[in-house]
Amino acid sequence: MSTDAPAAPGRKLNRIGLEPGAYRGGKSTLCAGCGHNAISERIIEAYYEMGIDPSRVVKMSGIGCSSKSPAYFLGSAHGFNAVHGRMPSVATGAMLANRTLLAIGVSGDGDTGAIGIGQFVHLMRRNVPMIYIVENNGCYGLTKGQLSPTADLGSVLKSGVVNDLPPIDLCALAIELGASFVARTFSGDKKQMSALLKAAIAHRGTVMLDIISPCVTFNDHEGSTKSYSYVKDHDEPLGEISFVPYFDDISVDYGPGEVQEVTLHDGSRLLLKKLAGDYDPTNRVIARRVLHETASRGEYATGLLYVEPSRPDFLSLLNLVDRPLAFLTPDETRPGRDVLEQIMEELR
């Protein structure tokens, strides 16, 4: 899928001339086998393959195991590990200050679905241009395995505690609230996650990416509905996803009706090969119905659930000058003497 720039011998450079190493971060301190580490790997690959300059990227997070992970990818990008559940507002502020940045936020199911649900709701509603990943394992790992609001009804904790409250479906919520790109995938599905991450980078607007990422320490046992084995058995892909970046001039020869093509903001294309039925990810009503039906069967619908490439993002609604607000000069931001004099005259 990626195009390689003319490479020096023995080195694999991407189209802006960077090695994969340029996209790596610090060493992970998460548990061995944690789904979150697999996600960090896919993020590194996706930004490398898309040829994104890491210095344009800002990595945002809240608090929790998931929120630690931005330290483990794109080490040369700025990062902000904010407070619990409140990454959306900090990310929104950063994007207001500098609209040329590319924001990726990593949160967890507690950070988003419990303490941060208010800020999550308003981020989706505003369609702030950023990728918002929920590394979803249905439990609080860092505080040793308590239930989170995405734990399924009847799911059993390692301690034997049974969850008797219904889960919040963060994807259904995001679609309802106006997020313009909503997808779900599984940390064990390398191919699907890679295609979705690259499409997410190409999209302009809020990308809500729910990644089921089993907690190997606290929620990977019999009775858990977010264990590796359960998710593998109940993963219900809505279609086979291929991503064609705008810089790849690949012509695809699928037969008519076999694939649905979605053109993203930067001209990249998402090709959706239908597996069963006629799932249309541009239809909000169908998306809600399918999420509801699969959930009631105890399955996870994965893939691109909903996309609306043309919805204006929050920054475009503000009609800002082209240059980042953060870098405007005093000449541009301090009105002249005549303006102050005029205001004073009106107050006399």
Partner: protein, 612 residues
């Protein structure tokens, strides 16, 4: 049909005239549109060259509850609240009798004749006015009468107080600006009131306005609009807020000014973003995100919002992110009195959030300082890389004050220590949280500026910004932040100190308490023979002049508008125990702005006790 004039045996006040030194109180029902009439009255006195101040005591309600607007004319220039009312305009049937009963003998009452207040007492001057009968012919549209009838009392007062009617018309035109229909309608009501008074009311009170020349060139503005102008001139680019009385009008005024003066005329594009957030947590979260990314960012709120912002304030302090927070204080705790004033957030704001924190605060006393300190706050926030609070209050923020026109800023904005290639070369190596200059303030970078990146976090970190739980790293960070506070002491506006000749005691005040204290000092000197020295705080942490002042005076009265003596408490944290014992407290906390008499009485009472 009510009588057109008071009974023949009506009370007449003593003959000596009281010129340019009295208070008018207009008692209305909120939502009745009296604000225009009140501001026209205030402005007409102002345009007569007479020093004037106005205070709106209003309920937390859309319509139907009692509201009082107080206008004080003072030839000596006193603009603090005065407790006594000399002229009452009684328009609210529900409170009229109580309002009249609270007047002192010799006061005057203009009232709706239907209320028959003349029966309440016989030692004040009554001026009954048949408002409904006057308003009907000048305002054929019955729906507008409720709004227009208030202008009638302006006309009546113009006649009774001797205010030039032309001046009042001019004030009306100013107030209603570009609404010719409304101006015409209100002008007719004004004239009708004036004519009614001329034909029917005999002047029997001593209060008159005579033109002076004490307001030439001055402006009239509320503190929130003044702060908004300051923020605009400071070059703010990101404004995030959540509506709350009494701070909303700051961001609303700012929105108006920014649209008018910060939009590129060629492209129509904005050099600013103003976002109404979903709550105060988000408002400050957005401001910090923007500040981290290099923008000049602010939010404005009041006490309940400050409480919600505690968590993010701690993040801003510990991760060292600039932001400006305007706290337009109202009476707490909890919801408290949302439309009443207080200086009650000082202690909680100074150390807002858990752990060891300390935040710079600026303390504006006037609309001029609201303007200047708004600009100073942005410079300080970026210079110190920390949240900075501007502690205004409802009295300053929402009331109209006279002021010299604001001066254009001569200094360029101070964007603080931003790493550049030149600085990087000089430093050799750069670590985000290393104190290379000894002032506790490290150099910072922002995403997209081409300089090295770092990981910003509210968790424990070392000089490189890496996660660290090492005792030395943590203690080192806290100690450096304490050093930064010492730098802040030298950067916040210094206190203003003055002393009467032969002063025997010291007074300390700040913010809007200043106006009552300034007047009280004259009372103490002239009436009680007690000359005083005075220190007006303008910033926190305190500069060295504060300790020197307390050292100089054996008894120092700290005057403030809260129950617990919060500023006295902050002073006590900084001063040595023998000096703390010199501090005495004058506290006012009934939700109404402080008045001079309260200060004078409290100081004299303690002085008597103290010298016994």
């Amino acid at each position: 049909m009510p009588p057109e004039t008071a009974p023949a045996a009506a009370f007449t006040a003593p003959a000596s005239r009281v010129v340019n030194d009295f208070s008018i109180q207009v008692a209305t029902v909120n939502g009745s549109g009296s604000q225009t009439a009140n501001l026209v009255l205030l402005r007409s006195i102002f345009q007569s060259g007479v020093p004037v101040s106005g205070k709106n005591l209003f309920p937390s309600n859309i319509a139907g509850l009692p509201t009082w607007f107080t206008i004080r004319a003072s030839r000596r220039g006193y603009i603090a609240r005065r407790r006594e009312t000399d002229i009452l305009v009684a328009m609210n049937p529900d409170t009229a009798r109580e309002d009249v009963a609270s007047l002192r003998p010799g006061a005057a009452v203009v009232y709706d004749a239907l209320l028959r207040l003349e029966a309440v007492r016989d030692d004040v001057v009554f001026y009954p006015v048949p408002f409904d009968r006057i308003v009907a012919p000048v305002c054929p549209d019955a729906r507008l009468r409720k709004l227009v009838r208030n202008m009638i009392y302006d006309g009546v007062l113009a006649r009774l107080l001797g205010i030039d009617l032309a001046r009042m018309r001019q004030a009306l035109a100013r107030q209603l600006g570009k609404k010719p229909k409304a101006v015409a309608l209100n002008e007719a009501a004004l004239d009708a009131g004036f004519e009614y008074a001329a034909a029917n009311l005999e002047k029997r009170d001593p209060f008159v306005i005579e033109p002076m020349d004490a307001t030439r060139g001055k402006i009239l503005i509320d503190g929130n609009a003044a702060a908004a102008i300051g923020a605009m001139m400071a070059g703010v680019t990101v404004v995030t807020w959540y509506p709350i009385t009494p701070s909303s009008s700051l961001c609303e005024a700012l929105t108006g000014y920014m649209r008018a003066h910060r939009t590129d005329p060629a492209t129509g594009k904005a050099t600013f973003a103003i976002v109404q957030a979903e709550d105060e947590l988000s408002a400050l979260g957005m401001a910090l995100g923007a500040g981290w990314a290099g923008a000049r960012a602010m939010t404005a709120t009041s006490g309940p919002g400050i409480s919600l912002m505690a968590e993010f304030t701690g993040l801003g302090y510990f991760a060292e992110v600039p932001a400006v927070i305007f706290d337009i204080q109202r009476a707490g705790p909890s919801t408290g009195l949302p439309t009443r004033t207080a200086q009650g957030d000082l202690l909680s704001t100074a150390v807002l959030s858990h752990g060891d924190t300390r935040h710079p605060m600026l303390l504006p006393a006037s609309v001029g300082e609201a303007y200047e300190m708004a600009m100073a706050a942005f410079d300080l926030a970026e210079r110190l890389q920390t949240p900075v609070f501007v502690m205004s209050d409802l009295d300053l923020g929402m009331n109209v004050w006279m002021s010299e026109p604001f001066a254009y800023p001569e200094r360029a904005p101070d964007r603080g220590k931003r790493l550049t290639p030149e600085v990087l070369e000089r430093l050799g190596e750069w670590h985000r949280y290393r104190d290379v200059d000894g002032d506790g303030v490290p150099w910072r970078t922002a995403p997209g500026d081409g300089m090295p990146a770092y990981f910003c976090r509210g968790s424990g970190h070392n000089e490189q910004g890496q996660y660290s739980e090492r005792p030395g790293d943590y203690a080192g960070t806290l100690e450096r932040l304490a050093r930064k506070l010492e730098t802040a002491r030298t950067l916040v506006p210094p206190a203003v100190v003055e002393a009467d000749e032969g002063a025997r005691v010291g007074l300390i005040a700040f913010g809007t308490s200043h106006w009552a204290v300034a007047e009280s000092r004259d009372q103490l000197r002239e009436e009680a023979g007690l000359p005083t020295a005075y220190l007006r705080l303008r910033g926190y942490p305190f500069g060295p002049e504060v300790e020197a002042f307390v050292r100089r005076w054996e008894r120092v009265y700290v005057v403030e508008q809260n129950r617990d003596g919060q500023m006295r408490g902050l002073l006590a944290l900084d001063l040595e125990p023998p000096l703390v014992q010199r501090l005495r407290s004058v506290r006012h906390f009934d939700g109404l702005p402080l008045d001079a008499r309260s200060v004078t009485a409290a100081v004299l009472e303690q002085e008597r006790g103290g010298t016994r």
